[in-house]
Amino acid sequence: MKTFKVLFTAFTLLIFGLNAQAQGKKTESIKIKTSAVCNMCKATIEKGMAYEKGVQKAELDVASQMLTVQYRADKTNVETLRTAVNQLGYDADEAVANEKAYNKLDDCCKKDKGVH
């Protein structure tokens, strides 16, 4: 039981610590036009971007294919964010998707399917 308490406290501290750290700096926002076509793409992109350094929030609007990213300018930049989207298998503005990643996407996420 004691082990649990110690573990639990450690995790709680860790989570709070991470949050506190993230709150200090100012964030910037950018809109990126992607080749996402469905809700599965939305899930893939939002999850993938959440794991990128400096990204605080990523939200995709499927209908307009627009991805809004809130990020910390001192940790990342727009080019890196676009590349991250490409690595997930999607176009980002003019930058074309990474071919290998694109080939691995589920069929419903392929560009030629059109927004659905």
């Binding site: 989570i15 939002e46 999850k47 959440a50 794991y51 290998k100 990643a101 691995k104 069929d107 659905h116």
Partner: protein
């Protein structure tokens, strides 16, 4: 005049109100279904259903269809055998809808579902899925641990020394469950004792669990159910995947998967696994190692080739495993003559399979499939003074033709198979051999009315060279009361040839004599049952409720009698009744955002006749509870998981101590096991820490007369609870997509 005008307006309004619903009701959606690659080919018999409803229709011989617009949804689901299903949003005034379906090109026997619901709503046979996400919650690294977060399949240890484990379904031994990898029968016969160790968790994409009889396409076995392990798909495999695991017993595992696509057509995945334990651990101070020392090297290579209507898959596996168990003072290779008790086993296994499938050019629902598989399993083992070694060669060829009668509401599969088993066992210097040649034919008919009823009727006849003609009929019916309430019933016969020593390897680690009183006949049983699945929404959160009941009754069974004589296990054919009643009720619900909870209650009444007396199958608790809770933060950055299992009272076999005092009617007390895990994910890395049996429950004296292993009362097979106590582990995963 004004009044008249007013009334005219009212009349007009009234008319509108009257007419409008009428219009809405009579308005139909018309359309036609085509092949995407060849737009002149129409698809007759495609199913069109409004999403989430039971209203739908089938396309006619020209591929055209008419169905009323739905008031509930504008999403139309179009599916057709041999094609990828599609969902289309229909515009309110769509006059004529053209649907283009894309060929799926996948083998019909290896349909890969992207959908990861744990209880599939579509399959006519009740199928529960352990997803790859579920697999990550278990304490790595082989199939035995993969069921830790699942209520339907349980894993038990056969004895306290050798480390052999068995799965259990419906309260029946793992031998009655058909184990398949990618729908190819695998790890059967003499491989049974350690088979769960031979598939690394990192090879597995997901696992399908089918309770009750399965499809006749996979043979006459599967009496209590089928566990189909879907291995990583070369087309979707990560480029690099690494897993490292270690626990406080000193056991460690290492895995490496490498995936590569040579072109759009050809891809491969190479998977390597090793498991090592070189540390002698004896935490219950009985002089015996709690876990056997072991070294395993395992390699699996899978290839896939897809070219239009032709798909081919090849899988190759080789493994070598060495295990040493027994007293902590036992030295490898020293044998029982050294005065120390030990168990040793060395296993070499190679296996492979290939699948080829060809789809007809203009009839995508028609296909030919050929599946070839083979294996060679060789082992050499010692249990104290007993030696047990053997070899088994297995080969199986299956040919399946699939087509439809008229429309795809009526589909059928016809096929032929040829199986060969060549077994040689040498037990205590008695040689036993068996050669089986099993040609067989089979057929399965599926009726699907595209709304709410599916019937699958199958039968096979095999011409066994030793046991004559074996007829195996099976029936599955699925009825959707509505999309959220689904009933399924199943019934059928199963047949199998038992391998009594391999299936009771636990008893080898005891002073019990193995007595074969008569010529053992194949086992035969009927299994009938049904389930009710309800998908519900409570407080805006989705949940699932499942209740099922299965009854299995044996016409013949190889009974391992450990009741009648204390110092023996007597193998006989069944005389009298033997049955299993199994009931399970389970709820899965998302209690709060990110917090998923599963709770299950299980009741098993499993009895067999021992010397004419109907008694509980030993070691089988009647009542069990299972609770699993998993919490994940946004995007799974943190994952917490905990499982508690409670086991009720259970009957134990008769024993005698070395003074010859006989004890009957023994039972074991209830106990609980708690497992927990925490995972932190980064972009390419996962780190996990966990504990098994955190409540630190240990069975008292799992080995009877451990201090005198060569005496009459020595018995390590009376194990019903954990031996090691709490085990803490940690590991990391690296993924490059």
């Amino acid at each position: 005049m004004i009044l008249a005008l007013k009334s005219r307006k009212t009349l007009f309004g009234l008319l509108l109100i009257l007419l409008f619903p009428a219009v809405a009701f009579t308005q139909n959606l018309n359309g036609q279904v085509f092949d995407r690659s060849d737009k002149n080919t129409v698809l007759p018999g495609a199913s069109l259903v409004w999403a989430g409803t039971t209203s739908g229709t089938l396309s006619d011989s020209k591929g055209t269809f008419t169905l009323p617009f739905s008031t509930q949804t504008n999403k139309l689901v179009i599916s057709f055998i041999g094609y990828k299903p599609d969902t289309i949003t229909v515009k309110p005034k769509e006059l004529f809808l053209r649907v283009y379906l894309e060929e799926s090109g996948s083998l019909q026997e290896v349909e890969i579902t992207a959908k990861q619901d744990r209880f599939d709503a579509k399959t006519p046979i009740k199928t529960e899925i352990i997803t790859s996400r579920d697999l990550e919650k278990s304490a790595c690294c082989n199939l035995a641990e993969s069921f830790e977060t699942n209520a339907s399949v349980e894993v038990s240890t056969t004895d306290a020394v050798s480390g052999a484990k068995q799965i259990q379904m419906l309260g029946l031994d793992g031998a009655y469950t058909l184990l398949t990898t990618d729908n190819v029968p695998a790890l059967q016969g003499l491989a049974t004792p350690f088979r769960l160790n031979y598939l690394s968790g990192t090879y597995i994409d997901n696992i399908d669990i089918i309770k009750g009889t399965g499809s006749v396409l996979n043979g006459y076995e599967s009496i209590s159910g089928q566990v189909n392990v879907k291995l990583k798909d070369p087309e979707k495999a990560d480029r690099v995947f690494v897993n490292l695991y270690g626990n406080d017993l000193g056991k460690w595992d290492a895995n490496l998967n490498v995936g590569h696509s040579f072109s759009e057509k050809l891809s491969t995945v190479l998977m390597l696994h090793t498991a090592q334990l070189h540390n002698r651990v004896d935490r219950n101070d009985d002089g015996f190692m709690d876990q056997p020392l072991g070294t395993q090297y395992n390699v699996y290579n899978k290839w896939k080739y897809t070219s239009g209507r032709f798909v081919s898959e090849v899988g190759l596996n080789a493994l070598r495993e060495n295990r040493i168990g027994g007293q902590t003072s036992y030295k490898e290779g020293s044998g029982a003559a050294s005065g120390n008790y030990g168990t040793e086993s060395l296993t070499d296994r190679v296996s492979g399979y290939t699948k080829l499938s060809l789809t007809s050019k203009n009839k995508p629902y028609e296909s030919l499939g050929l599946i070839l598989s083979g294996s060679n399993h060789k082992f050499d083992s010692e249990y104290g003074f007993r030696n047990y070694d053997g070899e088994q060669q297995s080969a199986l060829a299956r040919f399946i033709f699939q087509s439809a009668i008229g429309t795809t509401a009526h589909t059928y599969k016809l096929g032929a198979s040829f199986g060969h088993e060549n077994l040689r066992e040498n037990f205590e210097d008695t040689l036993m051999t068996r050669k089986e040649y099993i040609p067989g034919i089979f057929g399965e008919y599926t009726y699907n009315n595209a709304h709410n009823l599916t019937v699958v009727a199958g039968a096979r006849t095999d011409f066994h060279n030793l046991y004559g003609t074996v007829f195996t009929p099976r029936l599955h019916v699925k009825y959707d009361l509505n999309p959220n309430n689904i009933f399924r019933i199943s019934g059928g016969k199963g047949f199998r040839v038992a391998n009594p020593i391999a299936e009771n390897s636990g008893a080898l680690v005891s002073s019990r004599r193995f007595i074969f009183q008569e010529k053992l006949q194949p086992e035969e049983a009927w299994n009938t049952g049904g389930s009710f699945t309800r998908y519900f929404t409570l407080g805006g959160k989705p949940g699932t409720f499942i209740a099922d009941y299965y009854y299995t009754t044996f016409q013949n069974q190889v009974v391992a009698d450990m009741y009648s004589v204390p110092e023996a296990v007597i193998f006989t054919n069944l005389e009298g009744r033997s049955f299993s009643n199994s009931f399970q009720a389970e709820v899965q619900y998302e209690l709060a955002k990110g917090l998923d909870v599963k709770a299950a209650y299980k009741y098993f009444d499993v009895k067999s006749s021992y010397e004419g007396k109907l008694m509980d199958r030993p070691m089988n608790p009647k009542n069990r509870f299972f609770v699993n809770a998993g919490y994940a933060t946004a995007f799974d950055k943190w994952r917490f998981d905990a499982t508690v299992q409670w086991f009720g009272n259970r009957s134990l076999p008769t024993i005698a101590d070395h003074a010859g005092n006989v004890e009957t009617n023994r039972t074991a007390d209830p106990f609980s096991v708690l497992n927990s895990q925490v995972t932190r994910s980064f972009k390419h890395w996962d780190i996990y820490v966990g504990g098994e049996n955190l409540l630190n429950f240990k069975q008292k004296d799992p080995i009877m007369n451990a201090d005198q292993p060569f005496s009459h009362g020595f018995d390590a097979s009376m194990v019903w609870g954990p031996i090691s106590g709490r085990v803490i582990y940690a590991g990391l995963r690296y993924k490059l997509k």
